[in-house]
């Protein structure tokens, strides 16, 4: 009962947050200098044309009225029409979302593997040079944001030793018809693992750039929790049972040490998704972030609003899912 109540309160705060985002983005971009209507019209359009288009997009009404109309539309699932691309915003945005989601999830997997491995090695070889090496590596990786890692990766593996693609989600030469925009997942479901490999190779560089800072955070926090757990009595007891240190770390310590890291990954995952905006730009990856930058440059108000709202919804949903996961994974809470 209390759990249901807590969930309800969370959903309520989520709604308030999303409403806040909608208000901020709506009024913020209406202060944009530069009339978007003027950009849509060919040179030599008459005053009458402008007025007609303004009426079409509702720019002739008061700001407050515009907000009410827009808010009502949004609640009905209508996000308007993109000014620059002349297509429904919801179609455009949902078409690009899978690309960004796949990139982010791939990056998350890399970060967990990389950070987990570093935390494990640092714990296994604690109080030695190897642990110091893990500390220095994660400290450096953490201090430098994904934007710079992306440029370093482009330089190293795109130019100096060109083994990875640094541009685009799919090679133009790939002969494969996708029915959905979840390319990697779709290819895997259709058992075309050659295509999966191709796609993962294409997005490996941007995903790695996004993953490096998160991997470092995971490495640091998880190693700290693991080391604390390694001192506990039940871990000592497990050692006397004849298990190897590796097994002790992975089976006895990890399940109890992982919870704080998991919570952190949840928060950090939204930061990672936020990072896709500039990373997609750098790697010409056809996702939501890349589209967002174009939308800002083109002053495409409906599209900007749609994308920002989608990101905000994504972030709040992820936070909710992480909180619920933590409850499920904690045996004490589960049985309470």
């Amino acid at each position: 009962m209390t759990l249901l109540r807590a969930l309800f309160m969370r959903l309520l705060t989520m709604a308030i947050t999303l409403f806040g985002v909608a208000v901020v983005v709506f009024f913020l971009i209406r202060v944009v200098p530069g009339n978007p209507i003027a950009m849509m019209l060919p040179p030599g359009a008459t005053e009458e044309d402008i007025t007609r288009l303004q009426a079409l997009y509702g720019f002739d009404k008061s700001l407050f009225q515009q907000f009410l109309i827009w808010g009502g539309d949004v609640l009905r699932g209508d996000f308007g029409t993109s000014i620059s691309l002349r297509q429904p915003v919801s179609e455009l945005v949902l078409g690009r979302l899978p690309a960004t989601l796949e990139l982010s999830l791939f990056a998350l997997v890399i970060a967990i593997l990389l950070g987990g491995l570093m935390a494990f090695l640092g714990t296994l070889y604690r109080h030695s040079m190897a642990e110091a090496a893990v500390d220095v590596t994660s400290g450096t990786a953490l201090s430098v944001p994904d934007f710079l890692w992306a440029l370093v990766l482009i330089l190293l593996f795109g130019v100096l030793w060109p083994v990875f693609s640094i541009s685009g989600r799919v090679s133009p030469s790939l002969d494969f018809d996708f029915a959905t925009n979840f390319y990697i997942i779709e290819a895997a479901l259709r058992l075309r693992f050659d295509v999966v490999g191709h796609l993962l190779g294409r997005s490996f560089m941007p995903a790695l750039a996004l993953a490096i800072p998160l991997a470092a955070i995971i490495a640091q926090l998880l190693k700290q929790s693991l080391k604390e757990t390694m001192h506990l009595d039940y871990v000592t007891l497990a050692r006397t049972k004849g298990y190897s240190e590796t097994w002790v770390i992975l089976s006895e310590a990890l399940p109890n040490a992982v919870l704080p890291t998991l919570t952190l990954i949840g928060v950090q995952f939204t930061f990672l998704i936020g990072g896709t905006v500039i990373i997609e730009r750098l790697f010409s990856y056809e996702g939501l972030g890349n589209m967002a930058i174009d939308a800002v440059i083109n002053r495409d108000l409906p599209l900007i609003q749609g994308i920002v709202l989608l990101f905000a919804a994504l972030f709040t949903v992820i936070n909710l899912v992480v909180d619920m996961l933590c409850v499920i994974l904690n045996p004490k809470l589960r049985h309470a």
Binding site: H127, Y234, L237, R239, G242, Y243, W247
Partner: protein
């Protein structure tokens, strides 16, 4: 006479720091109970850890041998040493509240090692776990095996830990202050239980404690540890009638003994403390470290 566990001249020190144990020797004969007594900080738990291979990394072994069932553990490569210890010895830990993995059910915490390390079948391991839990007088065994540790009381958890220690029929059990964390009424029951289980299974027991009263109830022989050094090793009866070392005498005097039902507590006389301190200090200076 060589014991089942035979520690010879064990010397430990903090990495790059002072020595904590100086040339400690002690024997536990097969099926016998040997007490290891001393104040906290004397290094008695450290000996138990050295035997079971769970010393913290900050401590290194600089000398000595630990013979377990005819094998010098310190001469084995680490992985093999662990297997060997896991197959022959077990630990009854101090604090039942922290010695069970909070994220695992009780059943697997007893059966996993039987399956993983000793190669039992799952059915055999489960049957064994049920039998042994029954032996330690746990009611409703099936429910307990499905429980998480936090759902059991402290006394129950200690019973589970005792059962777990005996499950693989080890030949040696190290009990590290197994009753200290429990309240007095439970202490007696647990002590009786350990004694009963040990006698039934014929297990040798190294009983680490600071409580002479407890020692007098369970042990056949004992070693008294003071400042990292064994100051007296004796059979139980001889120790309580004719303690030799001044520290032993002081310890006895300060303990409400089982011989004296009034249990009137004698403070350690100041001159005894002085005597002991001087002796230890001299020893320390001979060993070359700062006290």
């Amino acid at each position: 006479m060589s014991g089942f566990l035979d520690i010879k001249g064990l010397t430990l020190r903090l990495r790059g720091g002072p020595t904590i144990l100086r040339s400690v020797s002690l024997r536990v004969a097969s099926g016998k109970v040997h007490g290891l007594v001393g104040e906290s900080g004397a290094g008695k738990s450290t000996i138990g850890k050295a035997v079971l291979g769970t010393l913290p990394r900050a401590i290194e072994i600089t000398g000595g041998e630990i013979w377990l069932d005819g094998v010098n553990l310190l001469a084995l490569p680490p992985r093999e040493r662990r297997r060997r210890i896991g197959a022959t010895a077990a630990l009854i830990p101090q604090d039942p509240l922290t010695a069970l993995n909070p994220s695992k059910r009780i059943g697997p915490q007893i059966t996993r090692r039987l399956i993983d390390i000793l190669g039992w079948s799952k059915a055999d391991a489960n049957r064994r776990a049920r039998d042994i839990l029954d032996e330690v007088h746990i009611p409703d065994v099936a429910r307990v095996m499905r429980s998480y540790p936090h759902e059991l009381s402290g006394g129950m958890r200690q019973r589970v830990l005792i059962a777990s220690a005996f499950a693989a029929e080890p030949k040696l059990i190290v009990a590290d202050e197994p009753t200290t964390a429990l309240d007095v009424t439970v202490q007696k029951q647990i002590l009786r239980l350990i004694n009963e289980m040990r006698a039934r299974h014929g297990t040798a027991l190294l009983f680490v404690t600071h409580d002479l009263g407890v020692v007098s109830k369970v042990c056949n022989s004992l070693s008294v540890l003071y400042a990292g050094k064994v100051v007296e090793e004796a059979q139980m009866h001889r120790f309580f009638t004719q303690p030799i070392h001044p520290y032993s005498r002081a310890l006895l005097a300060a303990t409400p003994t089982y011989l004296d039902p009034d249990g009137s507590l004698q403070p350690v006389p100041a001159e005894v403390i002085q005597e002991v301190e001087t002796e230890v200090h001299q020893h320390a200076q001979r060993a070359g470290y700062d006290v």
